[in-house]
């Protein structure tokens, strides 16, 4: 673990980083909250129905359609806002499911040890051995293209990192005196795992999850871009960008959904960075280990 040694250069960089991370975290939180608000309320106030084709096609941004219209005459702004309501909730759901599944698998593996540990962790290794996006594509394609299947595919590829982190923490806590004491008092392994160990896993997993939301959004949009996620005419950022490929000259069709993805992903990453700092130093070392192990 040479990476955790605090050299002077490292300390200086961290100090500079720390000055900036808190404000960035606040900016991230504001932007993310704004997008979540849009996701919840967009249908109430967007100027046009996101799937209605009433406008002239390929109009540049102007007074009638502030972000222009796409190749069949739909309002890009309305679709962009409606798209937030598709991607963000699904990304949160996806991360939530991955956290639950991964933490559970890792905790059981770490607590039970022996062959249970070996079996579960080899399965984890197996999934992690494949390139994330390619494996997700294969799964989504074989299940049939739809948003629901894209989420399933994304869960399948994203749980292992949580399993690894939670296993390593459980492994280190398993032998602690307070855990052994509670077992000696006669509590069941399940209760010991649930009340004594899992609360300690929550912090690092939360940090990892917040950093993962951005990745999840990118993965879902990517699958939709490839035609494996949202199906037309659903307003989804990835599929909007894929539609823009046909009309390169009409830059507004693709640029705005691209900016939307950029801002959301950056916002959640800022939040994640700040959270990681808050959990310093233990969680920080853990999540670095997890991130370097992930390399996806």
């Amino acid at each position: 673990m040479t990476s955790s040694i605090l050299t002077p250069a490292r300390a200086r960089r961290r100090r500079i980083g720390a000055q900036w991370r808190a404000p960035l975290g606040i900016v991230g939180a504001v932007v993310a909250l704004a997008w979540i608000l849009v996701a919840c309320t967009a249908p109430l106030w967007v100027p046009y129905d996101p799937v209605a084709q009433g406008l002239p096609r390929l109009q540049p941004p102007g007074p009638e359609a502030i972000l222009g219209t796409d190749s069949v005459g739909r309002d890009v702004f309305s679709r962009l806002m409606a798209g937030a309501g598709v991607t963000i909730p699904l990304a949160l759901l996806l991360v939530g499911c991955s956290v639950v599944l991964g933490t559970l698998v890792g905790a059981i593996a770490g607590y039970a040890g022996r062959w249970v540990d070996e079996t579960l962790m080899r399965i984890t290794d197996l999934v992690m051995a494949f390139p994330t996006v390619i494996l997700a594509m294969v799964i989504a394609a074989s299940l049939g293209p739809s948003l629901f299947n894209a989420v399933i595919a994304a869960i399948v590829v994203s749980w292992p990192q949580y399993a690894r982190v939670s296993r390593s923490i459980v492994l280190s806590l398993r032998g602690q005196n307070y855990v052994i004491a509670s077992r000696l008092l006669g509590y069941s392994p399940a209760r010991s795992l649930w009340t004594d160990i899992l609360p300690n896993v929550a912090g690092p997993i939360l940090v990892l999850a917040s950093l993962d939301i951005g990745t999840a959004i990118l993965l879902l949009s990517g699958l939709s871009f490839l035609g494996l996620g949202a199906q037309p005419p659903t307003a989804e950022w990835g599929s909007m960008i894929s539609g823009a490929m046909e009309n390169f000259d009409a830059w507004w069709i693709g640029v705005f959904p691209g900016l939307a993805i950029l801002t959301v992903v950056m916002a959640f990453n800022f939040i994640g960075d700040t959270l990681r700092d808050a959990f310093d130093p233990l969680a920080r070392a853990q999540s670095i280990a997890a991130n370097t192990g992930e390399t996806a």
Binding site: S71, V72, P145, G227, P232, G243, E246, F248
Partner: protein, 526 residues
């Protein structure tokens, strides 16, 4: 840490340098502006071999057309009237025997004369290769050499379409002696394809210089050419550029002189300095409504199909297809005999009545289509979205099921789509190529439509196939087209334009639905 960072910087620098080299290489490798006798054409390659006898793909036809000549030819874009190519012809009253006389003085690229034996060899070679794609064109035909310059072609049944069929570039005439020397034979054991993939042995205006089926084909002027369309350039380079947006950039930047696959929006936005030839292609984009109860469900009736037909607003669809495209008036596209003059047009009252008759009550109908295979620059996804929108306002609920061409094709060919959005291109320039839409025939069956479902249309189609006079045939074809629009399961939508865009320094570009473009007609502008 420092070492790692330096390493990263070095790696980044190397990557950047590579990318830059890659880009500049791509841009400058083929800059033809300095050399007036070289021409660069951008197209998305669909070619498997340069051997015409084994090829039946659009790019394959373009290349074969430049390298080889056929007995019969078409002039420019007009595919309704076959004209003499290598030979002129006469036919008997039953249209079962055709006599071809080869024009005087025509020579192959090695200087030897084109003779009747070359014609018989070339056609019998294809006939013998049962696996060859163009072999179906020659079914039921036999060839006989009368003298050095005369060949007779006999058919078992009346074959008015024979001259048009013989204009297919796949039926180009090879130099029999040269090809036989390299494995060519008429006994089905032909092994000449490998040699023909690196060399050409034809009488066309160009010869094959070099070929890479995935990236670039270079043609060189044929100095021995004695025909009508003398080559305008000493070299023609065909480059495989699959994205139309890249073709547009290449054309604008001067890296290409001709772009074959621009869509309507791209072509109309080209501006000064470029010429665009937009002609409706021979292809038709249509909707099919499956008539098989098990597949089609509530949609499986001619009434439902006619409800869809009257619910479609053709102008709204045409808007997506761009310049030069036209509305389809029936399964036979404009320019072919038997084509109807007017499309059906939107009539929502008729739709409502037909829907009641079909017993439709708001069920969701699944519309399958290929989403990665634009036809004539028309993308299917926006088209399907527009169709869904139009049908929704007519009270028909449609769910879209896009899929890659390669994976959806089976479902279409096997007739397992409830509703489908597909296209049909004629195999050769003759209206009988649209008869497979009839019940019980190839395309009809893809819509689960059997001959028992509509015996009347099946009979008219059979009549058109068997006709031995042009008048009878044209009458049967018109009748066929009209009845199909009345009670068929197909809703022909758009005949997309084919846009050939050229820099103003090039003249003579004309779209032809059989070989896309005759490269020999291109010449530098004065």
């Amino acid at each position: 840490m420092h070492i790692t960072r330096t390493g990263t910087v070095t790696a980044l620098g190397a990557v950047t340098a590579l990318v830059l080299v890659g880009c500049s290489g791509g841009n400058s490798a083929n800059n033809s502006s300095g050399d007036s006798t070289s021409l660069t054409v951008n197209t998305s390659f669909t070619i498997e071999t340069a051997d015409p006898g084994n090829s039946y793909d659009p790019t394959g036809n373009t290349v074969a057309k430049a390298l080889y000549e056929t007995l019969v030819d078409f002039e420019g874009s007009d595919v309704s009237t076959p004209v003499p190519g290598l030979a002129s012809w006469t036919q008997n009253d039953d249209a079962t025997e055709f006599t071809f006389t080869i024009a005087d003085g025509r020579t192959f690229s090695d200087g030897s004369p084109v003779e009747a034996s070359d014609v018989v060899f070339s056609l019998e070679r294809i006939q013998a290769m049962t696996e060859a794609k163009p072999a179906f064109l020659l079914e039921g035909l036999s060839f006989a050499e009368v003298d050095d310059s005369t060949v007779t072609v006999s058919s078992e049944t009346p074959k008015l379409a024979l001259p048009a069929l013989l204009a297919s570039p796949a039926l180009g005439i090879l130099n029999a002696d040269v090809v036989a020397e390299h494995g060519g034979s008429t006994d089905g054991e032909d092994t000449a394809q490998e040699w023909l993939d690196a060399n050409s042995a034809g009488s066309g205006p160009y010869t094959l210089d070099s070929i890479d089926l995935t990236s670039q084909i270079t043609l060189a002027e044929n100095p021995e050419y004695t025909g009508e369309h003398a080559p305008g350039y000493s070299r023609i380079v065909l480059r495989n550029v699959s994205e139309s947006a890249t073709q547009l950039i290449n054309l604008k930047g001067g890296d290409a002189d001709v772009a074959l696959d621009l869509n309507g929006d791209q072509a109309s936005g080209l501006g000064d300095g470029f010429t665009v030839d937009s002609v409706p292609s021979g292809q038709t984009i249509f909707l099919l409504v499956n008539q098989d109860d098990e597949v089609g469900g509530v949609a499986a009736s001619p009434e439902f199909a006619s409800a869809v037909r009257t619910a479609i607003d053709g102008d709204g669809l045409l808007e997506l297809a761009g310049t030069g495209s036209v509305q389809a008036t029936g399964v036979i596209p404009p320019g072919y005999s038997g084509a109807l003059s007017d499309p059906v047009g939107q009539d929502l009252d008729a739709t409502a009545a037909a829907l009641t008759e079909a017993g439709y009550d708001g069920e969701t109908i699944r519309l399958s289509f290929p989403n990665d295979y634009p036809v004539g620059g028309v993308e299917f996804t926006p088209l399907a979205e527009r169709i869904q929108d139009q049908l929704k306002s007519a009270g028909i609920n449609v769910e879209l099921a896009p899929a890659p061409f390669a994976s959806e094709l089976d479902a279409y060919v096997n007739g397992t789509e409830q509703m489908g959005l597909w296209f049909w291109a004629p195999d050769y320039a003759d209206s009988t190529n649209f008869l497979p839409f009839a019940p019980g025939l190839k395309v009809g069956l893809r819509a689960g439509w059997t001959a028992e479902d509509n015996p009347a249309i099946a009979d008219v189609a059979a009549e058109a196939y068997a006709a031995s006079s042009t008048e009878d045939r044209d009458a049967a074809l018109s009748d066929f087209a009209a009845q199909m629009q009345e009670s068929g399961p197909f809703i022909p939508l758009i005949v997309p334009a084919s846009n050939i865009a050229t820099a103003d320094s090039v003249t003579g570009a004309a779209y032809n639905s059989v070989w896309t473009i005759d490269l020999a007609e291109l010449a530098p502008a004065e």
